[in-house]
Amino acid sequence: MQFRQQEKGKYLLVHASGRLDASWADHFSSTFKEYIRQGQHHILLEASEVSYLSSAGIRALVQVVKSIMAVQGSFQIIRASSFVHQTLQMTGFESWLKADFPDDLPAEDTEAQIPDESPFELYQLNGSTAMQLSVPATWVPWKAFNSNNLSSIRFGHQDFALGIGAPHQSDQDASMHMGEFLVVGGNVIYQPPREGDKPDFLLPEKAYLPEMHCLQALHCTGDMPHLLRFSPKGNKTYFGLGELAEKVLTETGSALAAFVIFAEIDGLVGSSIIQSPGLLKEDRIIPFPDIKEWLSFCGERVFPRQQALIFGMASKGLDGKKSPLLAGSTMHKNLFLHAHAAVFPYLPIESGVIKLKSVTEKLFKGPPPMALLHLLEDSRPSTGLGESTLIRGACWYTAINTNQEDTIWA
């Protein structure tokens, strides 16, 4: 089969020719899924030159349509050849068939138009204007473990957090299993501190609220009132985490902000705890190479084309020394950042305004998370991996009130 595609407004018009049978079905569905990945959610299939359609071809079509429906898109087959028309009619899929182009299809290709359209779209959602931050547990590496410093938190639907903790009930148990976690809308994803172990997750359900025993936590409660959509435009093919964080800070005009990003990954850079800090009997400086037994490092830019759910906090203008739980960026001036990313298999989302809650619901219905990383910037000369970058997605964010500065950052 051959495909020729034209962008027309919100539509992608695909001229297909050839036989859609078992030998082409996989190629067909992967081509169309790639369109969807590229943000084309409204597809018109011009099928006048599709001479044959087998059951395998229909199955491929069904898969494509399913993916498109999952992102609230649309799929129509235009000017189907008589064979295709008949086959689809007889198999009960005539709802896909349209006699002609939709009315809102622009006559001209839009490909070359508006090359400098902004890669960002901003939306205002309902919700409080700013959240309050609490820092109930303030461990920093590599302080001795003391169970008195543990803080137990139950996370409800409006809670956002990141830190180090464990879901285990007894202090003893928890101390053995202190690992990184992030909380988005009460959904907890926790990475056990053992290399190779899969992240675990705990979701709030009816009366059940997940509880974490935290050694370190940055925690805020409320709704995310702003949404930033980003997707590649022109030369702009990816978005750095620091860049997004700076954008969030600029938009809120606040010195401190929290954000949730749900996006397709270009490459993540980070590390994770692989031995519970709960085992630390005394304050330590852990030198190389011993540090390799406590932290893993990704080594390369990882998880391209997968999906990330990131929760982070960023600040500009705050005194870095007074905020030990934010790390100074080496690539963005004056930026301080702390972000954890959970990695999922790729999951496309619809464009435009989208609710965080609907995204997380959909996300946790699907396959489980593959990894959880504490994101880092690697600005080593020549060998550096750079910062984590994303391709397209959504970023919900909020300003954080900083009037409690002193108590928070002690």
């Binding site: 190389f288 190479p289 390799k292 893993s296 490092f297 080594g299 390369e300 790390a327 504490h374 880092l376």
Partner: protein
């Protein structure tokens, strides 16, 4: 059963070619356990097996097999307890000698070799009977030089020889790696069969994750002279090939974790 304690082995120490092939390797293997050893090329798998078999003396460390401290036993003496199959199908048999002569050698592994005829008709019958269990038709070719057989046939015979007298420990070093896929599968099958039937304690180096997952009770992964992963019991039961691949990747990434990464972490990990 087998206890390996703090084993070290450095090849060509003090030269540019210095290789730390074993670094502080400790391992305890229980009786009846079939352990697969996997790892990247040059990770020290063969060195570990050779150290256990006594091909060389370790620089440091101790090896116990049952109640014996075999650390200082020469290789041939350890052979009374240990059966071996090598990666090279030619390594385990004497090419110029007949199948029955080769097997007759194995029938007295670790025992006195008297001045009586090695092959009598009784011994021949016994050999034919057990060779038949390989289902390769070799029982009709007992007087052919073993060098005229294919690699797979030789490897199957080597396996039979290594287990003829029940060894306390069977060491298999990539014994199917040099065979074509079909023969490799057949030899794997024979391996599993013999080990299960005789309830042998065995260590098998393999590059095939499939083999490791399918055949063994326990999987040990080596990297740069160390044991970096040890999957046993319920961990082994749930492990899949993709998990092993991931562990491989992870372990290899560990090499990228150098001083400069430690500096990044020191600055940024909060």
């Amino acid at each position: 059963m087998l206890n390996v304690n703090n084993l070290y082995k450095t090849f060509a120490p003090g030269t540019v070619n210095e290789v730390k092939a074993l670094i502080d390797v400790s391992l305890h293997i229980e009786e009846g356990c079939f352990t697969a050893v996997i790892g990247t090329n040059g990770s020290g798998k063969s060195t570990l097996l050779n150290a256990i078999a006594g091909s060389f003396k370790p620089d440091h460390g101790r090896i116990n097999l049952f109640e014996h401290n075999i650390t200082n036993w020469p290789e041939y003496k350890r052979a009374s307890l240990i059966g071996r199959v090598f990666q090279n199908p030619f390594a385990g048999t004497a090419a110029g000698m007949t199948i029955s002569e080769n097997i007759a050698l194995a029938m007295r592994r670790g025992k006195r070799r008297p001045l009586t005829a090695a092959i009598t008709s009784r011994i021949r019958d016994e050999i034919a009977e057990r060779v038949k269990t390989l289902k390769m038709g070799l029982e009709d070719r007992l007087d052919n030089p073993i060098g005229t057989l294919s690699g797979g046939q030789r490897q199957a015979l080597t396996l039979l020889m290594a287990s003829w007298l029940r060894p306390q420990l069977l060491l298999l070093d990539e014994h199917t790696a040099a065979l074509d896929p079909k023969t490799a599968a057949k030899v794997s099958e024979i391996t599993k069969e013999i080990i299960t039937r005789e309830k042998l304690t065995a260590m098998m180096v393999t590059h095939s994750m499939q083999q490791a997952v399918d055949l063994s009770d326990r999987i040990i992964m080596m990297h740069r002279g160390r044991i970096v992963e040890d999957l046993r019991d319920e961990m082994k039961a749930r492990v899949r090939i993709s998990d092993l691949m991931q562990t491989f990747e992870r372990v290899q990434k560990l090499d990228l974790f150098d001083q400069s990464v430690a500096e990044i972490l020191e600055q940024q990990f909060v």
